[in-house]
């Protein structure tokens, strides 16, 4: 590998490497961490609002549940929704941008005008309304077919899809711009000249050249979706109790803040876990962008 390779350049960026390591750590902790905690810590107990102790390093909440376990399992849901939601938005954004950029002309300007309009609409507000309207439907639909797995996770499924639907705009713009630039390159002209179908040109010639950009925006969309999910959960419309995500934990913590008894552990630990994850994702995304930027080659 020479110095121009993006992986090498990423490896030389200490912030990005640290961020990637931190992310792996957080993911491993949320997946495997709960297995090491005593199963009783998930159950409500009489020990309400205990400050951090040796038995409960992060303290306990109103119902005497262990906050460490709640932060870890909440992180599981936040990360799951973030990752899957980002994949959905990736699919929509890439296809939309590819089609707009490849079609060009009127179709392109019409499609991009829609993106412009959606940009200045408070999308989350409509998603709030939609989730509320459709989640009961999905639940009925799933239980009518005996899909028990979907009944229990219908709320999460609907969160993933609705958040994927709102976070694709930036990616669509970027992919469209790149497609426009790639379209005029010789290898695309050659493919057209050889009489290859649109499908082959789009998937075989254009898409592979866009993978770098898509990877960058995947790392930047995951935190955006995590934030959106927590926003909804914070307001009580996302993940429903007793399940928790970082957003709903923070809502509990913020609700318990009062000048008489400072229950700081209910705020600091969920906020800390979430902040670390979001910062790591954004710093990694930024590092990736620098590493894959051809203008930085050879630096």
């Amino acid at each position: 590998m020479d110095d121009r390779s993006p992986t090498r350049r990423l490896g030389k960026n200490p912030v990005a490497v640290a961020a990637a390591a931190l992310l792996l750590l957080v993911a491993a902790a949320t997946i495997f961490g709960p297995l090491f905690l005593p199963p009783s810590s998930a159950e409500p107990s009489a020990l309400s609002f205990s400050p951090p102790t040796l038995a409960h390093p992060f303290g306990t909440d109103l119902n005497g549940r262990d906050v460490l376990l709640r932060v870890l399992t909440g992180g599981r849901i936040s990360l799951l929704v973030g990752f899957c939601g980002a994949l959905v938005s990736l699919f929509i954004g890439t296809s939309y941008g590819l089609i707009a950029g490849y079609a060009g002309g009127r179709i392109d300007s019409f499609m991009m005008r829609i993106v412009d309009i959606l940009y200045s609409v408070p999308r989350l507000i409509f998603i709030l309304i939609c989730i509320n309207a459709f989640s009961a439907y999905l639940q009925e639909f799933a239980s009518a077919r005996g899909w028990t797995w979907l009944v229990s996770s219908s709320r999460i499924a609907i969160l993933i899809f609705s958040l994927g639907i709102i976070e694709w705009l930036t990616l669509a713009r970027i992919v469209r711009g790149q497609t426009l630039a790639l379209k005029s390159r010789a290898f695309v002209t050659a493919a057209v000249g050889l009489g290859q179908s649109h499908r082959v040109i789009l998937l075989r010639h254009l898409l592979p050249n866009l993978l770098g950009v898509i990877l960058i925006y995947l790392t930047l969309t995951i935190p955006a979706v995590i934030i959106d999910e927590s926003f909804l959960s914070f307001l009580g419309v996302g993940v429903q109790a007793p399940a928790a995500s970082w957003g709903s934990l923070l809502a509990d913590g913020a609700g318990a803040l009062n000048p008489v008894r400072i229950r700081w552990w209910l705020v600091v630990y969920p906020a800390g876990a979430m902040a670390l994850t979001l910062l790591a994702l954004n710093f990694l995304g930024d590092g990736l962008r620098d590493a894959l930027d051809p203008r930085n080659a050879g630096k």
């Binding site: 940009y119 200045s120 609409v121 408070p122 989350l124 507000i125 409509f126 709030l128 309304i129 939609c130 509320n132 309207a133 459709f134 009961a136 439907y137 009925e140 935190p223 934030i227 927590s230 926003f231 914070f234 307001l235 009580g236 419309v237 957003g247 923070l250 809502a251 913590g253 913020a254 803040l257 009062n258 000048p259 400072i262 700081w264 705020v267 600091v268 906020a271 979430m274 902040a275 979001l278 910062l279 994702l281 954004n282 710093f283 930024d286």
Partner: protein
């Protein structure tokens, strides 16, 4: 210009019509009704209630009735907050939300521009690095992390500022900061990029060669050109602030429209929701219109033809 304004105002009507329609049907298609949360009602009482709030009859009839009322300027009564009209609730809560949003808006633009110019002027120095590090952190963290932490530090530990509430100047500081922080950062990053590009142009070199002071070059010559991407972000910014204020109002117990918005969804209070959404969208569309006009005033190369 006049044709442009007329066209955009016509578009406003279309947007509001779509918004009303979507909200109305989304609220009505979901199973269950606005009176579900209450004690079991006898069919007769439920029928009466439905009639009182004009929720009886076929759906399309209800919809047309609602549109007709809206055209007369009647936002109807809230279903949950008995004996209060939607217009009344909005008149009480909107000024609060708008004040909070306006303060945050000014903070975001002023802070973002200062930080962005500072970073661009000192490109590559520690000031630039520090500003961009701060910006990336602030962008990464949402209001519901920043807000409770600010309360914890400044209200509970240091006891400098109130925990929440509304009505005196000190109460607005933390909420406005919480709301503005990510956008200070976003604007700073946006401006840094376009400023660095602008500073490479010939007219900047000419100005410097003429001996114009660096301050005037930055803030008068270069900023006027470099600010354009920021100006086009102002429309989305307003939308973000409006959405963000819902959370910030919840965190700081501010009696704004955001709380009523969330409750109206959870309570299935369709007319209150409709009222809030209509006002929100109208404000955003009008604001975007103002931004477009401002854009042309700054950049004479663009003409508004519609």
């Amino acid at each position: 210009m006049i044709v442009f304004l007329i066209r955009r105002l016509a578009a406003l009507v279309v947007v509001l019509f779509c918004v009303v329609t979507i909200t109305f049907f989304l609220m009505r298609i979901a199973p269950g009704g606005p009176f579900d949360a209450e004690r079991k009602l006898t069919p007769a009482i439920e029928k009466q209630l439905l009639a009182k709030y004009k929720l009886d009859g076929p759906l399309h009839q209800q919809y047309l009735d609602y549109l007709r009322d809206l055209l007369r300027g009647d936002l109807r009564d809230s279903i949950k907050y008995r004996n209060r009209s939607v217009a009344e609730i909005l008149a009480q809560t909107l000024p609060v939300t708008i004040t909070l949003g306006a303060v945050a808006f000014v903070l975001a633009v002023a802070g973002g521009v200062t930080l962005g110019v500072m970073a661009a002027a000192g490109k590559g120095t520690w000031r630039d690095t520090l500003a961009m590090l701060f910006a990336l952190s602030a962008i990464s963290l949402p209001a519901f992390i920043i807000g409770p932490i600010l309360i914890l530090v400044f209200s509970l530990w240091l006891k400098w500022l109130p925990v929440g509430g509304w009505g005196y100047p000190a109460a607005i500081i933390l909420p406005a900061l919480t709301l503005a922080a990510p956008y200070v950062a976003y604007i700073a990053r946006l401006l840094r990029g376009s400023m660095i590009e602008t500073l490479g142009h010939d007219f900047v070199r000419t100005a410097r060669a003429k001996g114009v002071s660096e301050r005037v070059v930055l803030y008068k010559h270069a900023l006027r050109v470099a600010i354009l991407p920021v100006v086009s972000f102002l429309g989305p910014l307003a939308a973000h602030l409006l959405t963000g204020s819902i959370v910030v109002e919840t965190i700081f117990h501010i009696p704004g429209a955001g709380g009523f918005f969330v409750n109206s969804i959870l309570n299935r209070d369709g007319f209150l929701l409709g009222g809030v959404v209509i006002v929100y969208c109208a404000m955003l569309v009008l604001f975007n219109l103002a931004v477009d006009v401002l854009y042309t005033l700054l950049d004479r190369r663009i003409r508004l033809d519609g």
